[in-house]
Symmetry: C2
Subunit: 152 residues, 2 copies
C-alpha cells in the first residue's frame, strides 16, 4: 500500500521535474528570440484571434487573456503602426470592431513562419519515434489543460 503511494509520488515528481525542465528550457529559448521580429509574443497572442475575423475589444481581450485596458493600449499601438483597424460597430454605437489590415495579416504570417522554423529546429533533434510521441503527448497535455480550465 505505502509502496504504491510512494511510487505514485515519485512518478508525479518525475513528471513535474520533466515539466519544469522543459518550461525552463523553453523560456530560455524564448528570450533568445529574433530581435527583428515585427510582433512581440504578446502582440502576436493579441492579434492571433483576429485571423478568424473582426472582434469587439472585450471579445479580443478575453480571447488573448488580457484585461480590456491592456487590449485598448495594445490596439492603440498596433493601429498606429497600421497593423489593425478600429472601426465603429454599425449596430451598437458603444462598440468597436477590431480587424487585421493586410500588413497585419502579413505580420502574423511572418511571425508564424519564424515560429515554425523554431519548432522545426527542435523537431529535427528528435528520432522518428520521439517525434510521434512528442506530438501525441503535447496534444494530450493541451487537451488536459482545457479540461482543467472548466474547474478554475
Amino acid at each position: 500500500m505505502s509502496s504504491v503511494a510512494v511510487e505514485i509520488g515519485s512518478e508525479l515528481e518525475a513528471f513535474a521535474a520533466a515539466f519544469d525542465a522543459f518550461a525552463r528550457a523553453a523560456k530560455r529559448a524564448r528570450v533568445r528570440v529574433d530581435p527583428d521580429a515585427i510582433l512581440t509574443p504578446s502582440q502576436h497572442d493579441l492579434v492571433g484571434p483576429l485571423a478568424d475575423g473582426p472582434l469587439g475589444l472585450r471579445e479580443l481581450a478575453r480571447a488573448a487573456g488580457v484585461s480590456a485596458p491592456t487590449a485598448t493600449r495594445m490596439v492603440d499601438g498596433l493601429s498606429e503602426r497600421g497593423l489593425v483597424t478600429r472601426e465603429p460597430d454599425a449596430g451598437d454605437r458603444r462598440a468597436v470592431r477590431i480587424a487585421l489590415t493586410a500588413s497585419g495579416r502579413a505580420a502574423v504570417g511572418a511571425h508564424a513562419e519564424r515560429r515554425l522554423a523554431r519548432r522545426r529546429a527542435l523537431y529535427e533533434q528528435l528520432s522518428a519515434s520521439e517525434r510521434r510521441a512528442a506530438a501525441a503527448v503535447l496534444a494530450r497535455l493541451a487537451e488536459a489543460y482545457e479540461s482543467l480550465e472548466g474547474s478554475a
Copy 2:
C-alpha cells in the same frame, strides 16, 4: 520520394500544431495564477538558481535568462524585501555574491509547492501510460532544447 517529403512535412506540422496548442494552453493557465503569490513567475525564475548556493550577478542573470541590468534591478527589489542578500565577494572586489535568505528560501519553497499542485492537477488528467509518456517526452524536449542552445 515526394510522398516521403510530404509525410515528413505533415508530421512536422502535426508536431508544431501540438506544440502551439500546448503553449497556448499553458499560457492561459499561467495568466490565471495566484494573485497572492509571494513571488512573481519572473522573480521565481531569478531566485530559483540560488537554491544551489550563492551566485555572482552575471552568473545569476545568465541562469535566469535575463540581462545583467534586469537582474540588478530585480535583486534590488528582492533584497529590499529581505528575500536575498547582496554581499561583496571576498576574492574579487568588483564582484558580489547574491544569496537567498531564510525567508527567501521559504518563499521559493512555497512557490514550488503551488507549482507542484498545478503539475499534479494536470498529471491527474492523464492515464498511467500517458503519464509515463509525458514525463519521457518532456525530459527529451528539454534535452533537445539544450542541444539547440549550443548552436544559437
